[in-house]
């Protein structure tokens, strides 16, 4: 599998560290309560199909990126910088 880093282009999967579902970009407020924090830390949609997840180009440019891909076919549709995805 290759991931399209917006800064470096198509790079081998080995260069990336997988963080997990991109829900981790939506950090709840400190006082949001245990249900919201449980959803953020643990509970996952875990889709069979399209997903967005967070990867770190650790052996490349060092960017955090959000990858849009398919968990069943391993097709990769695209990626954007986490910075932009959040904005």
């Amino acid at each position: 599998m290759r991931l399209p880093c917006p800064l470096c282009g198509d790079r081998d999967r080995r260069e990336f560290f997988y963080q997990g579902a991109a829900v981790t970009l939506d950090r709840p407020a400190r006082d949001a309560g245990d249900a919201a924090w449980n959803d953020y830390l643990h509970n996952r949609d875990n889709p069979a199909g399209e997903t967005r997840d967070l990867w770190h180009h650790e052996a490349g440019c060092g960017a955090w990126i959000v990858v849009h891909r398919n968990t069943v076919t391993h097709e990769v549709y695209g990626a954007e910088l986490a910075q932009k995805a959040k904005a």
């Binding site: 997990g20 579902a21 959803d39 830390l41 996952r44 875990n46 968990t71 069943v72 391993h74």
Partner: protein
């Protein structure tokens, strides 16, 4: 059971003399009834053992196991068959201890040859610090009533003389030997439980995918399937890698992410390895099957996937680790590799609990270690379903530990985070 109705040596001789014409199909192939007391979703190892113990231990026989494919076609038929009880943390420790005891009586109980072979599991260590950690684990195992022996380098040499003891990065300092651990024939375990459940009246329904769960006013009423609607008083989800999708049918989100784990088998070679060896520092483990194939594997591919096949980086990593530990096997050809979809929980430990919806039960989060749990999980899950209270050895497998933070069971000490187990 009469002398000739079950399986026995006499029966094999009789069939040999009669031209093998007397063997019968091992279970019925019934059409679904309109209603059951309990529906078990998923005909893997855990679903089949759950149905078996519901019937045997609790007398609940109006039960259906609904399987979307064929019995035993999921992870129960894809794993590397290692059975052990060498966990550290309370919760896991008593559960796997109970499960191993059930393994030891399984063949007699099921009247089925599951080829349970207590050939030992040997975990290698490579530094003084790791030796201390393994000594601690061994003590925890002994405190739980299980067995553990701390071997030095020469002790390891007696079991596996041909590994590379003097590897520059990972010299072998010793190993923790768990003699009652070993391997079993995975398909036979599924078939043995299936046959036992069928004999007690359980309907095993294959090619029957659950597509919806019917809930009215917070109470489960039944399921929708590709073979029509079926009503039930109780519904038990136990679908391993598909836990996320099936739970979603009931509006639940679980602390589960599905990942791929690969395994590999070589061509058959002469007997070389009579125990299970794990090389944790290389994320590698290996055993030899009775047919002579070397069966080995490593870590997850480490990204969410439902593809049931692996990616090359982990395959390469596993081959690297094999050559590091056992250069002697380098000429053996790899025959096959495959992958299975693992239900990874965020703390790496399982869940056997009520769902919050009346009559709906959850069993998931087995990660890459649920084969050894097949008897224990079914036994404890059947208890929960039948009696609506937890079975003591599995009482800590609660769903609410993730919300409260109380009772998280993180064997690896890395935190309750999805990408770390």
């Amino acid at each position: 059971m009469g002398l000739f109705s079950g399986y026995s040596g006499l029966k094999v001789i009789k069939e040999g003399l009669m031209g093998q014409k007397g063997w019968k199909p091992v279970w019925r192939n019934p059409a679904p009834k309109p209603e059951y007391d309990v529906i078990v979703i998923g005909g893997g190892g855990h679903g089949l053992s759950t149905a078996y113990y519901l019937a045997k231990e609790h007398g609940i026989t109006n039960v259906a196991v609904l399987e979307k494919g064929y019995l035993g076609g999921g992870n129960v038929g894809r794993n590397t068959t290692i059975v052990r009880a060498n966990y550290l943390l309370p919760g896991n420790s008593e559960f796997y201890s109970h499960s191993l005891k059930l393994w030891e009586g399984m063949e007699q109980d099921l009247n089925y040859n599951t080829m349970m072979s207590q050939r030992g599991v040997l975990n290698l260590f490579h530094s003084d610090g790791q030796r201390d950690a393994f000594a601690r684990r061994g003590n925890a195992m002994i405190n739980q009533g299980d067995d553990a022996i701390l071997l030095d380098r020469e002790g390891v040499r007696e079991h596996v003389p041909f590994i590379d003891f003097d590897n520059v990065r990972f010299p072998v300092y010793g190993g923790l030997l768990h003699k009652r651990g070993g391997t079993a024939r995975h398909d036979a375990v599924a078939w043995g439980y299936a046959r036992g459940a069928d004999q007690r009246g359980v309907d095993l329904i294959q090619n029957c995918e659950v597509t919806g769960i019917d809930i009215e006013a917070g109470v489960v009423k039944g399921v929708q399937t590709t073979r029509g609607a079926i009503r039930a008083k109780k519904v038990a989800i136990v679908v391993a890698g598909r836990s996320g999708q099936v739970a979603q049918m009931a509006g639940l989100r679980l602390p589960i992410e599905s990942h791929i784990l690969q395994a590999f088998v070589s061509e058959g070679v002469k007997p070389i390895l009579d125990t299970v060896v794990s090389f944790g520092m290389g994320h590698f483990y290996i055993s030899q099957s009775d047919k002579g194939g070397l069966v080995f594997g490593g870590d997850l591919d480490f990204y969410a996937s439902y593809a049931a096949r692996g990616n090359l980086p982990m395959a390469e990593h596993v081959m690297d680790a094999a050559m590091t530990l056992m250069p002697a096997i380098g000429k053996a050809k790899v025959l096959r590799s495959w992958g299975g979809i693992m239900d990874m929980s965020s703390d790496g430990s399982p869940i056997i609990d009520k769902s919050g919806i009346e009559g709906l039960y959850l069993n998931c989060g087995w990660c890459y270690g649920g084969f050894k749990a097949v008897p224990g999980s079914g036994f404890s899950y059947a208890h929960l379903i039948a009696q609506d209270r937890h079975h003591e050895p599995a009482a800590k497998f609660r769903l609410d530990r993730f919300r409260t933070g109380v009772g998280l069971m993180d064997e690896e000490g890395t935190g309750s985070q999805h990408n770390l187990h």
